[in-house]
């Protein structure tokens, strides 16, 4: 379990983290989302002991990483954004070095064979790291994080720069690893987070602006003041009728779905439920409302809404 309490980090006058806090339970796969400079890598570097916090505390299974770093670090496997690889070494030799560096216990040969198999790098064990493709380098980076069987894995943008096939492979690997471990990963790819993570923490300007499951985040930010409506009738008449309703702000024609039937995106004032007044106005104008559906927000929309400077988390705008 990881407990983060009031974590703050400043680089000179710039505050990279402004008192973030959360608890990550054993077995969770947590996605850290945020724009560049939001504080994701800083938070990860502090969690792994690579960086010291200006204030606050990180507890790894109850061990304070600032006070007992050597003990806490043995519980963590970390893959930084740029895999820390000695490119002049062969893969097998590099992993042996990591095994010794981490002071891992057990049969070295067998453990490394297991790790190589998990990361899918058994066949490149005898090759120099500098001669490997980016995908394989990433896998070697992942393998080094797995050495010593740490119960916590922290992965900073593990699929960045990979081609789609490699991305899917690495994603599968993370999912598999997450069955036995706590995994924290940061990513810019929201579909990846949605596919892999059971929980999402959104950081913006060094603060946690959301912390929930992807589904709950989407649901919490759904807007009742916006819907898609299929209406029969001339578009000009429909628009005029709808704009005559006081709580409706804008009407956008989307597409003609059937002859004479168009879909519109209807936007109401913040906080207003527009569905009933819209129905009443259309019925009065004899414009058949053939269907409505909620304007579903994708995780991308949710993310943009959360990190948008004009909008507050969870608020309608």
């Amino acid at each position: 379990m990881i407990q983060i309490r009031d974590l703050q980090k400043s680089y000179g006058s710039k505050e990279a983290l402004r008192g973030i806090g959360c608890t990550i339970k054993q077995g969770e796969i947590v996605g850290l989302l945020g724009l560049n400079g939001a504080g994701k890598s800083t938070a990860m570097n502090i969690m792994t002991g690579c960086l010291a916090a200006s204030r606050g505390q990180v507890l790894i299974d109850g061990i304070d990483i600032a006070k007992e770093p050597l003990k806490a670090k043995q519980k963590i496997g970390y893959l930084p954004e740029i895999p820390p690889l000695y490119t002049d070494m062969k893969v097998q030799r590099y992993l042996e070095f990591i095994f010794d560096l981490k002071k891992a216990q057990g049969d070295k040969k067998r453990h490394l064979a297991e790790v190589c198999e998990k990361a899918g790098i058994t066949q490149v064990g005898g090759r120099l790291i500098k001669n490997l493709s980016k995908g394989y380098r990433q896998r070697v980076g992942l393998a080094q994080a797995l050495i010593g069987n740490p119960p916590i894995l922290i992965l900073d943008e593990p699929t960045v720069g990979l081609d789609p096939t490699q991305m899917i492979e690495i994603r599968g690997l993370i999912e598999e690893m997450g069955r036995q471990r706590t995994v924290i990963l940061s990513s810019h790819i929201l579909s990846e987070v949605q596919a892999v993570c059971g929980r999402v923490i959104v950081l913006n300007e060094g603060q946690v602006v959301a912390d929930d499951t992807p589904e709950h985040l989407e649901a919490a930010l759904q807007r009742k003041n916006r819907c898609i409506a299929a209406i029969e009738g001339h578009p000009d008449r429909v628009r005029q009728t709808l704009l005559g309703v006081p709580c409706i702000e804008s009407v956008a024609l989307l597409a003609e779905t059937e002859p004479g039937v168009h879909e519109y995106q209807v936007q109401g004032r913040p906080g207003e439920d527009i569905r009933r007044p819209m129905f009443g106005a259309l019925a009065a104008a004899n414009l058949p409302l053939l269907g409505t559906r909620a304007h579903r927000l994708s995780l991308e929309d949710v993310f943009l809404q959360l990190v948008s400077p004009q909008q507050q988390p969870g608020g309608d705008a």
Partner: protein, 234 residues
């Protein structure tokens, strides 16, 4: 610490750096040995060790330039930072790896003394004194180079910094000569690597010289640890 030491040591010989350093050292030592001992038919190794002072000062930066700077540039320092190893352990491992390569290079002087012993026995206590002096000088210079390497991620800057530091240390004696204040002149002379080293080449094993080089080595290693820790804290 053991893992980092082994990795650093092997890294010297996985690239041409270690071979070049040892080969150039052997080349200079061999030339001086031929010129001053074999050619002049003498077992006095003093001129050889005297000249190796300059060679050591200018070759050590080649050995130390990549120690820390390369880690920073390739971001492998994160690997060391997240490993269950202390900053002191990391710095010492790197120091000892460089020191072992240097020891391998300077050990050629013992081979040379051995060659001379075939013809006439050299004064072994004096040779040993020379050897200890050269070893301590190298250790102090490696510590200085390690600190400079930890201050930059550019190996060239680390090497140039090392050369400048070496040149400064060589000029300290000349500086002492132009200082009129006797106290200051004495202080500069006492800080001079060359003066301290010359005592060894004269066959004197002075305790203060031993303390001077070992304490300087410890001081610069301490600074290197502080720089490494400071980066984690900043």
């Amino acid at each position: 610490m053991g893992a980092i030491f082994k990795r650093e040591l092997s890294a010297y010989f996985q690239s041409p750096l270690g071979y070049v350093f040892v080969a150039v050292y052997y080349l200079f030592a061999g030339f001086f040995f031929f010129n001053y001992n074999l050619y002049n038919n003498t077992t006095d190794l003093r001129p050889l060790f005297d000249l190796l002072f300059s060679v050591t000062i200018f070759l050590i930066p080649i050995l130390t330039m990549r120690l820390m700077s390369e880690e920073r540039k390739s971001k492998t320092d994160q690997l060391l930072l997240m490993a269950p190893v202390t900053a002191t352990g990391i710095v010492l491992a790197k120091f000892f790896a460089a020191a072992i390569v240097y020891l391998a290079a300077m050990s050629i002087t013992l081979v040379m003394a051995g060659v001379l012993s075939i013809y006439a026995p050299p004064q072994w206590p004096v040779v040993l004194g020379h050897f200890i002096g050269l070893l301590l000088l190298g250790a102090a210079l490696i510590a200085v180079g390690l600190l400079l390497s930890s201050l930059t991620e550019n190996q060239i800057i680390a090497a140039v910094g090392g050369f400048c530091a070496g040149f400064f240390l060589m000029l300290l004696d000349a500086l002492a000569g132009v200082i009129s204040n006797p106290f200051l002149a004495g202080l500069v002379t006492n800080l001079s690597f060359y003066t301290r080293y010359q005592n060894f080449t004269l066959g004197m094993l002075d305790f203060s010289d031993l303390v001077f080089f070992t304490s300087l080595t410890a001081l610069f290693l301490f600074f290197s640890v502080a720089v490494f820790e400071h980066r984690r804290l900043s």
